[in-house]
Symmetry: C2
Subunit: 300 residues, 2 copies
């Protein structure tokens, strides 16, 4: 589809047609880097290419973990942060659900983002310098933690943030144990090679609602059923301190959590400096900088 705003052919049209569609990812590689360029070995890179994700069992040490947990506690209980526009509250309970741009709010988290174990792996996968497109802390409380419905992050970033191509990677660093039963991350392995074009136009200021509960830009049930039947579902479990990195186009989501065991993680999106954002592909205006950065300075 030729995109008159950007003057290029749009490989990933979405929120423009009347029908949902499954499009194959033919032109964008998944892994750009090579084994000698970082911590990831060839086997891990190959598996990431095929499945769209990788896990790191102990990304940070137990001692470091204590420091990050203390920082999380501090951030969650800070009244000024609770009133900050970058903080998203749960629709029903008013509890903190996410704090955006957390690497600018917290020096501790900034240090984590710039840690070679984190940014180094992102650079290796993307084969270039990288910048932070988005960072946040997610907090899913016990008893009433809400689900995150299925979505491809890239679909949103392309439509609403103007990310041109699939050359970004997310890392989720667990600050609490992920059990099978407390609403952990689910990914459909291999789904990153299919782009689900969604229906519905993006309303203005859509992000205010969508950060609490996404409706526009959600895949249709038939596409989800096809992908789930083909790829199955992987549910991530692991101790606090472990991490999952996944491609920007992975179909993922998480169930709610009625257990008393809260879940929280640090979530960072690295985008290649060769893939910086332009005007949104399918939204009247772009989202605020704290959700979708316009500062493309590489993390060093």
């Amino acid at each position: 589809m030729f995109d008159t705003v950007h003057g290029v052919r749009d490989l990933y049209p979405t929120r423009v047609g009347a029908e949902a569609a499954l499009l194959y990812r033919k032109e964008d590689p998944v892994v750009y880097g090579r084994r000698n360029e970082g911590l990831l070995d060839q086997e891990t890179l190959d598996s990431y290419e095929e499945n769209g994700f990788l896990s790191v069992e102990e990304l940070i040490t137990p001692a470091e973990l204590l420091g990050y947990q203390a920082e999380l506690e501090r951030l969650l209980t800070d009244e000024a942060i609770k009133r900050d526009e970058r903080t998203v509250l749960e629709k029903d309970s008013g509890e903190v659900r996410s704090i955006f741009e957390v690497h600018k709010i917290s020096e501790v988290i900034a240090g984590l983002v710039a840690d070679e174990r984190v940014v180094g792996r992102a650079r290796q996968i993307l084969g270039s310098d990288v910048y932070v497109h988005q960072s946040r802390i997610n907090y899913k409380p016990g008893f009433k933690g809400k689900e995150f419905y299925w979505h491809s992050d890239f679909e949103t970033w392309h439509a609403e943030d103007g990310m041109p191509r699939m050359r970004a990677v997310s890392i989720s660093i667990a600050l609490t144990d992920n059990h099978a039963y407390n609403g952990g991350l689910m990914i459909m392995p291999g789904s990153h090679k299919t782009f689900v074009s969604c229906v519905g136009e993006t309303p203005a200021d859509h992000y205010r609602e969508s950060l609490r509960e996404q409706e526009i830009g959600t895949p249709d049930p038939l596409s989800l059923a096809v992908l789930a039947e083909k790829h199955g579902i992987e549910l991530f479990t692991g101790p606090a301190g472990s991490a999952t990195m996944f491609d920007c186009n992975c179909m993922h989501g998480s169930n709610g959590n009625i257990t008393p065991f809260a879940r929280s993680n640090v979530f960072v999106v690295f985008n290649s400096v060769d893939n910086t954002c332009v005007a949104p592909y399918a939204a009247p205006g772009r989202r605020p900088d704290f959700v979708a950065a316009r500062d493309f300075t590489p993390v060093k």
Copy 2:
């Protein structure tokens, strides 16, 4: 606590005090029967006594399963059944959530309930003849399946149905595969030996709401946190055709389900004929017969 209505000391006061409380189950055994009296061996009975549940890997054969799945499909799509007062619909979507008294609606299900592999195990655990206190089919659709919050069935049956003592067992027979990620049954193992006394008075006709979404008679968060910390949480997975039997006082619940994989099961509660229901212990009136049977005829 002396109960003036029943003229006895109530071992399990609930919905009467201003504070929640944890009471120990001291007088009611968990297992009444012995190994030579049925299909369950001593090891399984001992484990049931300790944990409050047992699993049967292949309760029904794959060939039998097909017949029950066809019957489920028939029941879910029957418009007359959808309008029947014994059918409960999802609050938001209007889809069927449960069909009560299903052993009276369906001869196929009646046959399953009276099967020695089902009722025989119940008789053995309870050490007496048994009758059906409640039967139903539960259907948890994919994509938008709602959670069932934590509860002890006995708390409700005692308060609202007048079940005097803990001498009942439930069986959940899976008609679809239970994965770790599609909202399966969770039990806190060993929690059946503690009774959580709940706060709040039961309003009249409470069952109409509570069958969709329970609020009164739900355990308080502190009690749940104590029990979960002490006992942990077991999430049941297994193929269609497998079954879980659990004590009436197990603390259990299930998370929502955003995956495309629906979950359904046949759920039957057997109560001992030596424990038949009297007047409710904490409700203005009793629930209808299709939710809480007053016909105590033993299953033969």
